[in-house]
């Protein structure tokens, strides 16, 4: 790979132009309804210049100052997950023929080359897990696969962790180490650009980058290291599986069930959660039908409904399922914990339940 180069801030639009010329639609961070969301960028002016976030358990607010930086914030409510694992989509349709036989028709998403700008390290780590889940098993998911195959990822190293972030303790950030096509480190005067893949190399070559001053690299490295230092929360990096399963009757599960709304916001914003439900939506005249898949959660009744019985009818069992799966049995299924330390489930929980606190409470004491 080529040595990193420098892209002066006024030339950031060249990156968008090169991606557009290569056939990509460009998605990136924008402010919408009081949060940073990833939507189509018309120009570099759409970026959240001078926008900063304040995140706390159950609270998220933005404010602006006159900083020239466009990536001086920690992740918002969603990033890559909804772009690949659609919140709701048709998997197939079926229609009754005149002879009464039913014919099935797969519904594939349109292949839409998509560049996402501003992807964080935690979201790249989550993407690796989603790839493993959706693509690397015996039955790769074609819907996810089409979108994944058309993705170009421009990472931005994180320099502004929120109070809810703990990616340093899970080993997933704040520096984007791999899994991107291009990575950017943002400085006041511009961006340090690194290529991370052959397609990234090609684009890198089109950017007419300037030579990098070693002092710029040192500043960027310092900011990323400081971002790791600044994180206030941690999750033990050891495998919590045995601790969690030894504590299935810990009183903390009752305690959290008093607070938890069983609302599924945590699992919906979690970039690694992949549970879904499927349903049929027939046309009124019964002649044809659409088969949908949509986001589900271990916090719903339907999730544990089997043959007339709801296995996890109360919140204690549902919260326990979420935590013991995410931090415990994921190790057996995917070789690591399902948490990449993004902190979303803490900030976007309406009642501010903190996964790091709950895990510490359950695994800390000895109630086995």
């Amino acid at each position: 790979m080529a040595e990193p180069g420098f892209l002066p801030r006024p030339r950031f639009r060249h990156l968008l132009a090169a991606l557009t010329a290569a056939g990509y639609r460009c998605l990136g961070p924008k402010v919408r309804d009081g949060a940073i969301v990833y939507e189509e960028l018309d120009s570099a002016d759409d970026l959240p210049r001078g926008v900063h976030d304040h995140q706390q358990p159950g609270a998220y607010r933005l404010q602006r100052d006159d900083s020239p930086r466009c990536f001086a914030w920690a992740n918002g409510p969603q990033a890559l997950k909804p772009l690949l694992f659609a919140p709701r989509e048709i998997l197939w349709t079926s229609a009754a023929g005149s002879d009464g036989a039913i014919a099935f028709h797969p519904q594939m998403p349109e292949a839409l080359p998509t560049a996402v700008i501003g992807v964080r390290a935690c979201d790249l780590a989550a993407l690796r897990l989603q790839d493993q889940h959706f693509l690397e098993g015996p039955f790769p998911d074609p819907h996810y696969g089409v979108r994944r195959g058309n993705l170009f990822l421009v990472a931005v190293h994180c320099t502004h962790p929120a109070a809810t972030c703990f990616c340093a303790s899970t080993g997933d950030g704040p520096r984007a180490e791999s899994g991107f096509d291009l990575a950017l480190a943002e400085l006041d005067e511009g961006f340090i650009v690194t290529a991370g893949s052959p397609k990234g190399e090609v684009l890198f070559g089109q950017l007419l980058l300037e030579a990098l001053d070693p002092a710029q690299q040192a500043t960027a490295d310092g900011e990323i290291a400081a971002a790791a230092q600044a994180q206030q929360r941690t999750l033990p990096s050891r495998n919590l599986r045995d601790s969690l399963f030894a504590n299935l009757h810990h009183p903390r599960w009752d305690d959290v069930a008093q607070r938890c709304l069983s609302c599924a916001n945590c699992s919906s914003v979690c970039p690694t959660c992949f549970c879904h439900a499927e349903m049929e939506e027939p046309a009124l005249d019964g002649s044809h039908s659409a088969h949908y898949r949509q986001w589900d959660s271990c916090f719903t009744e339907g999730h544990s409904y089997i043959h007339g019985i709801v296995i996890r009818a109360d919140t204690r069992l549902r919260y326990r399922q979420w935590l013991t799966h995410k931090l415990g049995s994921w190790h057996d299924q995917y070789g690591r914990s399902g948490c990449v330390g993004c902190g979303r489930c803490i900030a976007w929980c309406p009642v501010g339940i903190d996964i790091t606190e709950e895990a510490a409470a359950v695994c800390g004491g000895d109630h086995a």
Binding site: A59, L261, T315, V351
Partner: protein, 265 residues
């Protein structure tokens, strides 16, 4: 020979008529529905035959007069499937607020000749009077709900009802949470999905018009609303609104009213 068409009726009790619009606003699907079933009674749309036996009876409105009590028993006898539509028929409606107040006192204050008003002391849901086969929540219900129920019954299966909370729909639509990002007192975490998270998608807080979802933790949401700055009386009003008669909301409302009048030390 084709089998006889299923017969359908839409009845109205104490209500604003808004749920009947779920049928009237269907556009072409209303014509399709009229081809699939025989609509024998639906006063707002034309056909009037309130005592006809039917396969499917949709019932809008709550029971609030002595005549209502008698009429719903007749409808039950004449109907194979009785489906309530909307907050009034399913939880007593907004008008069930009078169950918590001095109804006769209010009538006396408002009407010059209160003797002409023959109301029951309460406004109650249909299920408090006769067995109900299916309850469709919402204020108002929408076309998707009523057509989904008709389609399932014509297939001979039990209609699959929403169980999830509004938060799930909100997230599926990629709406930004107004409780977390704006501190608004959103009722989505205890409210049944079905509206498509309409209010949060327009930047305002859900006011629970679809009634309680399964496994609602009204106590925890109430505490959170208080934490957002609502006084106990205001928290009570969040629960005692359109679906004040739904047991989970009624209980939460009572609790916060007690807090308002007799705060714990």
């Amino acid at each position: 020979m084709a089998a006889a068409k299923a017969r359908l009726a839409v009845h109205k009790f104490s209500s604003c008529d808004g749920c009947q619009l779920a049928f009237l606003n269907l556009g072409e699907d209303l014509l399709r529905l009229a081809e699939l079933v025989e609509i024998v009674h639906f006063a707002e749309a034309g056909p009037v035959d309130p005592e006809a036996p039917v396969d499917i009876a949709f019932v809008e409105g709550s029971i609030s007069t002595p005549e209502d009590e008698e009429r719903i028993r007749q409808i039950r006898k004449n109907s194979r499937w009785l489906i309530t539509i909307g907050a009034c028929a399913t939880a007593g409606g907004l008008q069930a607020l009078r169950n918590l107040a001095d109804g006769p006192g209010w009538i006396a204050e408002i009407y010059a000749q209160p003797g002409y008003i023959h109301s029951l002391a309460t406004s109650t849901p249909i299920a408090a009077h006769v067995p109900v086969d299916l309850e469709l929540w919402g204020c108002p219900v929408n076309g998707r709900q009523v057509l989904g129920a008709v389609r399932a019954l014509l297939f001979g299966v039990v209609p699959a009802l929403e169980q999830d909370k509004v938060c799930l729909e909100c997230k599926r639509h990629q709406a930004v949470c107004v409780l977390v990002a704006k501190g608004l007192p959103c009722m989505g975490p205890v409210t049944l999905a079905g509206c498509g998270a309409l209010c949060p998608r327009f930047g305002r807080d859900c006011y629970a018009c679809y009634g309680p979802a399964e496994n609602p933790n009204a106590a925890a949401l109430g505490r959170r609303l208080e934490g957002l700055g609502l006084v106990p009386e205001a928290v009570a009003r969040r629960f005692l609104f359109i679906n004040n008669g739904a047991p989970d909301f009624a209980e939460a409302g009572r609790h916060w009213q007690e807090q308002a009048h007799d705060p714990e030390p």
